[in-house]
Amino acid sequence: MSQPVSLKSVNVIPDPNTSTEVSNGFWSSNPISSFFIDTYKQIHSHRLSLELINPGTVENLNKEVSRDVFLSQYFFTGFKADLNKAFALNPAFQTSHTFSIGSQNLPSYAFSALFADDNLFIQGNVDNDKSLSGRLNYGWNKKNISKINLQLSNDQPSMCQLEQDYQGSDFSLNFKSLNPSFANSRNIFTGVAVGSLLQSVTPQLALGLELLYSRAQPSAPADAGVSYLARYVSSKKDWVFSGQLQANGALVASFWRKVLPSVEAGIETNLQAGMTPITDPVLGAPVGIQPTVEGSTTIGAKYEYRQSVYRGSISSNGKVACFLERKVLPTLSILFCGEIDQFKNESKLGCGLQFETAGNEELLMMQQGLDKDGNPLQAPPQPTEI
């Protein structure tokens, strides 16, 4: 359950655009440079007059649907028990022990720790196979965030992703690189490099491009591709449409609406174009290629209340799924998730318990809805859900 933590920074750097106001004698009197400065100022003031806002990151292009409403992020199978222990709220520090039985993808035991303050977020998770996954986000200031994603294990190849986010007044830039390396015989780049730009065009519409370059081996040819992105947020911010045409031939369209403060609904369509070789029925030799398109559409809804969160979805490939989360005690939640594949006649089931404990007395009282002296709190505390 990794949700981005907003990184607030204390130090605010001066806007570079205001520094041009301090006119340097040489630059302002020089006809060539003053022309450029004036043009820049004109464009800049026109840009400000459009009242554009930051469109959000490329990563969050369809976050409302795929991460908030849909339950695939939260789905698990088998039985699991989470024991979360909070030590401090600000800066946030908590540890968590997860035990699980009867699941193919969850490890039988995992320990995770999390620390977050105003500009640093660091999280780590280690399981019984000693494989580690870690995340580190550091906000240099309000606009610049560096991120590191790690996946280290003893028997599988390790993975390291470096990422830099820049959030401008009306655009977002992002550079990331997966397993970058120059350490090979020819000193050429291997790994994956992705650069993306999302620019607000009107206060509602943002358009973006994503460039991808990858090379697995120095001897193999490199791969490059361009993805196109679009996001439209209604003026009341109660519905969002987003579309992506990805470099690998996938088209993703999604739509999200906030029906009520506690009810959200979303739909996502995925079309994946590809090529399959046609083989000669007699000889079995390839005689040509044929375009194929695979598609699926999923519609889902999320109901969120003070004590419980319900998610449900139906997909055009026959999958019906639900995820229920209910707080039965201030310190205990129960989770239930199930999925039925109507076409394949398969089903998956997951049950879970979540305990919240505390590392000090004040937090323990707070979890019970009491303050330090044992008097009931006015408003129930919102646990930092990360």
Binding site: A88, T95, G124, V126, L150, I188, T357, A358, G359, L364
Partner: protein
């Protein structure tokens, strides 16, 4: 295509680089969680002891 000036490395220095890389990998692998625990321990008001930090039971 990105091509940096290539360096000619002897086998020993290559081996040394490999060793340094493996060491960094090991330190990150086994030091990441302890580092988070240290950061959290240093910032929490009542410095919990090691056992409290690792036990899932409430420690009050």
């Amino acid at each position: 295509m990105v091509s940096l000036p290539s360096f000619i490395l002897s086998d020993e220095s290559k081996e040394r680089m490999n060793k340094v890389w493996n060491l960094a990998h090991g330190i990150t692998h086994y030091g990441w969680i302890p580092f988070i625990l240290y950061l959290g321990w240093a910032s929490s008001p009542n410095k919990p002891n090691f056992l409290n930090l690792l036990s899932p039971l409430p420690s009050v």
